[in-house]
Amino acid sequence: MKQPNSVPASELVLRETASQTAGPYVHIGLALAAAGNPVRDEEIWNEMARPEAEGEHIEVVGTVIDGNGDLVRDAFIEAWQADSRGDYQPEYDLKKPFNSFGRTATTFDRGSEFILKTVKPGSVKTADGQTMAPHINVTLFARGVNIHLHTRLYFEDEAEANAHCPVLNRVESPVRRQTLIAKREEEGGRVRYRLDIKLQGEGETVFFDF
């Protein structure tokens, strides 16, 4: 046992296990259907809201684009969002109408879009009581991504709330804030929000550290 106070305090804190890319075959582990493999009885996937869930039902779609402007077809994405009242529901239970957590992936099909079926989240407060605009927290993994990237998806039709969101306002460049705002589309009564995630270069998406 080490004598108390005999070593620098930093040495008493373990180092995190290092990250490695999820690689091109992430689907076999975390998105079985996308790998073309049989699924288990319960999978964590992209239907976060069942029809009876409270709130405005929406689809969230988009692509992931690399620094050459090409589609990233092997990205794996996790979503974490509040319910329509602005509360996170940590308990993941497929029997519940709504789950705060979901997974999706871009595809090998031509459009290569990810899709989440969810409800529009309510707004969540920061620890010191400021109101954040409604948002979905997005984590992205892919081949060639050594450590996952965190971003957020905000909603175009929440302009007033977006203008006052303390997190959006942490992004110094107003132009860059726009990279987080999904565009609203309506088609046959279905509401869809679209956000393309640009990993690098012109229009590069804002990624967060926290």
Binding site: V13, L14, R15, E16, T17, A18, S19, Q20, T21, G23, P24, Y25, V26, I28, G29, L30, G36, N37, P38, R40, D41, E42, I44, G67, N68, W80, A82, Y88, P90, E91, Y92, D93, N99, F108, V124, K125, T126, A127, M132, N137, T139, F141, R143, G144, V145, N146, I147, L149, H150, V167, R170, R176, L199, Q200, E204, V206, F207, F208, D209, F210
Partner: protein
């Protein structure tokens, strides 16, 4: 007012591999150029996360020797070295992380993944899928039974090979602790020449990804055991008045 102030130890981004690591060529066009935007005061959006205790798992979800043949009327076992992969999920302060989701996936003994995009000439194993998941117990322990995956070539340099590895995904208590890594096998000569391993600048960081042979926990006449502990970001709580 007394304020419940939870946060996690800052992630050391010099310890983890950088986004841009040209020796691993795919990072070149997939790494952001702009700086990450730091959130100094994380909110529930970052400090909470899913709890999978109610996810219904199959009886062999953590047993890759058996879980692919289920429901297929097959009774064969996968080819390869039978191993137990086990360990603890703890945080940076050594505190166990109970009931957290640990998922893993891997190639078969020949180095081939059961994935529609893997066209390596090593054959698929009809008795091996290559995916597992489990929850840690009260003390943070997890356990899988599987076969040791094979190394395989991949297009990076003219002749690049991945060391034998198992991909490991851990949730931890919050979105902030989310981590995906790879477990390598102690003593594998491909580790020091792997472009993906070498995205890490610090050799001590590489050591955190090495599964160690644990002969004591191996089963006689059955399988070897490899121990792989996972450390996720440490949680801090402060209860001081916030003014």
């Amino acid at each position: 007012m007394t304020h419940h102030d939870k946060r996690f130890v800052q992630r050391d981004r010099d310890w983890h591999p950088p986004a841009y690591a040209p020796g691993y060529k795919t990072t070149v066009a997939r790494s952001p150029n702009q700086a990450l935007v730091s959130l100094m005061k994380p909110s529930a959006s970052e400090l909470t996360g899913p709890d999978f205790r109610t996810l219904r798992m199959g009886p062999h979800d953590n047993d890759l020797l058996l879980n692919f043949r289920e429901g297929k009327g097959q009774d064969g076992l996968p080819i390869g070295e039978r191993i137990i992969m086990f360990g603890r999920v703890i945080d940076q302060f050594g505190k166990p992380v109970p009931h957290t989701l640990v998922e893993m996936w891997q190639a078969n003994a020949g180095g081939r993944y059961r994935h529609k995009k893997d066209a390596y000439l090593a054959p698929l194993d009809p008795n091996f899928g290559g995916v597992g998941r489990t929850l840690t117990d009260e003390q943070g322990w997890y356990r899988f039974r599987t076969i040791k995956p094979g190394p395989y070539p991949w297009p990076n340099d003219v002749n690049s090979w991945r060391p034998a590895h198992i991909h490991v995904s851990v949730m931890g208590p919050a979105i902030s602790t989310r981590l995906i890594t790879q477990m390598y096998f102690e003593g594998d000569p491909l580790i020091p020449i792997c472009p993906i391993v070498n995205t890490l600048k610090d050799r001590d960081a590489v050591e955190t990804m090495i599964g160690r042979l644990d002969i004591a926990r191996s089963n006689s006449m059955d399988c070897l055991a490899y121990r792989f502990d996972l450390v996720v970001r440490g949680e801090l709580q402060t209860y001081f008045e916030n003014q």
